[in-house]
């Protein structure tokens, strides 16, 4: 076994890779949160529950309608996105002019309801979703055995993250979107339908969580609690990255996955705490977050 300065390199690289895989989920989820926050100034507490919903939808699609993984990868985010659109239109818009804390509380309530419904219906012991046939098996790397599906997780989520970033930062549609955040009245005056943009953006941010849910279904237990466990970590990541910063959310998400992996190797007891420790340090040094520009 290869060692360097007393460090088991195989073990370490394995943990780093697993960290990167977890980081992909963090990136997807925090990206969705950052988009929603950037445009609507809403902290979407239901993002974790939506992620759970995505995983359950994938499971239900296969179980009840025979829809396979690849179709679910497209259909589930769409369905979840539509739910998001309805949520924004009928629940969040009526309170859009109130204090933003109310929208946080509203989404918290929605998260409780969703989680409760699924616990009631499916219990919380978790359901299993088989890995699609074409992604079964794995590759033997020098330091570990990498299951193909885990590699796919990294590829798929990075692709989605980077194209989303590109769409928002580099395209005309993205420019409207950003302008709509900066100065809605002006955009309205130019004849752009700002409320529509807001609704669609919210739907898209939520759909990202649904997509993450489908990706997670084959490897994590599909359980009602899967969302609430990961949500708080993702919140911390968004705070570290700088709330509303899209690139920041992606980079911090992946980075924190790796940091967590490192901690798991060197000091496993602290692996759950490390992200929150990093957050406290960042807040002390740079209160707006690593990539944040808010005053």
């Amino acid at each position: 076994m290869a060692t360097f300065l007393g460090i088991n390199l195989f073990g370490l690289s394995g943990q780093l890779l697993v960290g990167l895989i977890n980081g992909s989920f963090y990136a997807l989820l925090s990206l969705g949160l950052a988009i929603i926050f950037g445009l609507l100034r809403i902290i979407n507490f239901a993002q974790g529950a939506i992620y759970m919903l995505g995983a359950f939808f994938a499971w239900m699609a296969l179980q009840y309608f025979g829809i396979n993984y690849w179709a679910a990868l497209i259909l589930v985010p769409l369905a979840v996105g539509i739910i998001g659109v309805l949520m924004e239109r009928f629940l969040l818009r009526p309170i859009a002019n109130e204090d933003h804390l109310y929208s946080l509380l509203l989404t918290f309530g929605l998260a409780l309801i969703l989680q409760g419904i699924f616990t009631q219906t499916y219990g919380s012991s978790g359901l299993s979703y088989a890995i699609p046939e074409s992604l079964k098996g794995g590759t033997r790397l020098p330091f570990m055995y990498l299951p193909n599906y885990r590699a796919w997780i990294i590829v798929a989520s990075l692709t989605v993250c980077i194209s989303t970033w590109w769409a928002i930062e580099k395209t005309k549609l993205g420019a409207y979107l950003r302008a709509g955040t900066e100065n809605p009245q002006m955009m309205q005056a130019f004849g752009i339908n700002v409320p529509l943009i807001v609704t669609i953006t919210f739907g898209f941010g939520v759909a990202l969580a649904g997509f993450a849910g489908v990706i997670a279904a084959p490897v994590y237990a599909v359980s009602p609690e899967m969302g609430s466990n990961i949500l708080i970590v993702v919140f911390a990541i968004v705070v570290i990255g700088g709330m509303g910063s899209i690139g920041g959310a992606i980079i911090t998400g992946l980075g924190m996955g790796v940091v967590e992996g490192l901690t798991k190797y060197f000091y496993p007891e602290a692996s759950t705490t490390i992200i929150f420790l990093v957050m406290v340090v960042v807040l002390l040094v740079k209160p707006a977050g690593l990539f944040g520009k808010e005053a």
Partner: protein, 309 residues
């Protein structure tokens, strides 16, 4: 004058309630009512939504539990130490958090409380997932045996009244007036020369210490301190209690805590057990969409409309 009569009626009710209702249930209500009142001091009177108050509830509980189990101190000392520790933690967390506002404040407090959660999860003295089991209630002042539910109840009632009185005093003091000024118009308060962050910080410390007092007392009542008390769901629950009862009102959190605890207790036994979380969620949504003033707030509005000047 009317308010005084209301206080008197409530006090008499509290004195005779254990004859009709299960004392442990009443004690639970009182502990959570104190917790919600402490939380409301921040949300209702300074306008700061802390999403991490469970950290203080849990700290009070664990410290008191540890002292009662391992040092043999009397309960009142245990409770005072728990309260102080929660206050100290509040001083540290508050210092970091009050620099931020609104949603950012909520997020920072949430993340800080998670730090506390993982500390208590891993620290050897807390028993981790098992919780701190079999905490003795002890003898109050070394004399009164609190193992008896009735003596325990009146002790808890006394603690609650003390905490409630503290909050009442704080709100109606000049300090409290400044807090309200900050809530209403922060830039104006700054221009008047107040060091706003210091005021917020002190309010945060008082609130966290009283939350710790509630946690300490709760540990004695149930003879158990557990991770439930430090979990972020608990932070959400106290928001719910306050919101439902009416934030920024004196009696709101009391009523909200009573309602939430009663719902949980009533449902958890029967077939409806799994619906608790759904019902809590629905209450949240309905409160936010339809009556943001809470029960007491709405009642006040009705009274004002019909009888007000």
């Amino acid at each position: 004058m009317k308010i005084n009569k209301l206080y008197l009626a409530l006090f008499i009710f509290a004195l005779i309630a254990p004859a009709a209702l299960y004392p442990v249930f009443l004690m639970k209500v009182l502990c959570f009512a104190l917790f919600a009142c402490a939380f409301n001091l921040l949300l209702g009177f300074v306008g700061l939504l802390s999403f991490g108050h469970a950290a203080f509830l849990g700290t009070g509980g664990y410290v008191t539990g540890y002292l009662m189990m391992h040092t043999g101190v009397t309960p009142e000392i245990g409770i005072i130490c728990g309260t102080i520790c929660a206050g100290l933690l509040g001083a540290f967390y508050g210092k970091l958090a009050v620099k931020r506002e609104g949603i950012y404040f909520a997020m920072v407090t949430l993340a800080l409380s998670q730090l506390a959660f993982f500390f208590y999860l891993q620290a050897p003295f807390t028993g981790g997932e098992d919780g701190m089991q079999g905490v003795p209630r002890g003898h109050l002042f070394g004399i009164i045996d609190l193992a008896d539910n009735m003596s325990m109840y009146y002790f808890v009632l006394a603690i609650f009244i003390f905490g409630f009185w503290m909050i009442h005093r704080t709100i109606h003091s000049p300090f409290g007036q400044v807090l309200k000024a900050i809530r209403e118009n922060e830039p104006r308060a700054i221009s008047l020369g107040y060091n706003v962050n210091d005021y917020k910080w002190v309010a945060f410390i008082i609130s966290s210490a009283l939350a710790g007092l509630a946690g300490s007392t709760k540990t004695l009542v149930f003879q158990l301190a557990s991770l439930t008390d430090v979990h972020w769901h608990m932070s959400g629950e106290v928001v719910l209690m306050t919101l439902l009862g009416g934030m920024g009102t004196i009696f709101g959190p009391l009523l909200g805590a009573g309602a939430v605890v009663a719902i949980q207790n009533y449902l958890s036994g029967g077939e409806m057990g799994n619906y608790v979380s759904i019902i809590m969620g629905v209450i949240f949504v309905v409160c936010v969409l339809a009556f943001r003033n809470g029960i007491v707030g709405e009642i006040n509005k009705v009274i004002k409309r019909n009888f007000g000047s």
